[in-house]
Assembly symmetry: C2
Homo-oligomer: 138 residues x 2
């Protein structure tokens, strides 16, 4: 059990908090390297897991290729582009009733700690890109 953060862990936490685009572990590694050049990948992975376990950052299930991290630890929802895999924070909360959550958790037999709504669809860029392809092919 580690309570205080050393310089490496501080740097990792800083990077994750400062980046608003859900960096992967390797991206965090590259960024942290600039300020702590001697750090290795293994330590970055170790620190990320440890920070996530302490609730200081959030580990997002990998939607496309690699696991991504989020400095926003307040509960929030996501939108995921089914074409390019982009994972966006929703700026608004999708409201749902406590009662619905509680009964669903009970039905599944789990002790509910948190929840997330995921919206799937096409982001603006992909929508435009696909329309162009259609018009060329069609």
């Amino acid at each position: 059990m580690k309570e205080t953060l050393n310089a490496n862990a501080q740097a990792v936490l800083e990077v994750v908090r400062r980046s608003h685009n859900h960096p992967t572990a390797l991206e965090v590694y590259e960024a942290v390297r600039k300020v702590r050049p001697r750090i290795g990948v293994a330590s970055v992975y170790r620190i990320l897991h440890s920070l996530a376990q302490q609730g200081l950052i959030r580990e997002l299930g990998r939607s496309d290729e690699a696991c991504r991290y989020d400095g926003h630890i307040e509960r929030h929802d996501h939108a995921i582009c089914t074409a390019c895999g982009a994972l966006l924070d929703l700026p608004v909360e999708v409201r749902l009733s406590e009662e619905a959550l509680r009964s669903a958790a009970q039905a599944a037999g789990i002790e509910l700690h948190s929840h997330e709504v995921r919206l799937y669809g096409l982001c603006t860029a992909c929508r435009q890109r696909l329309q162009q392809v259609e018009s060329v092919e069609g």
Copy 2:
């Protein structure tokens, strides 16, 4: 564009539909091998992607280590154990309003196709396991 499913694809689809525990691609491969021994991993991956693209199965973002597939293509929600990574289908729907969804999608700038609610917490097994650890350590 392929419309008809050949014997390999049929077998893969059968396996995914028959298994009620979100198999990984490798698990599907092992199961399909029993009925089509000459099939290779590459084909299984190809077929899984193709079936998912045709909407015949659903590709679940990898919650723990590997990508998992679901024969249930009707929209449904999931519960995820934060301790062991288990991914469970919710037997009931977590109801939320069309209006809330639509406005959230608009705020994120995506064209909404589907959505999913994810409940995070401890499954029964992990709850018990962790209680035991506590009582031993405490």
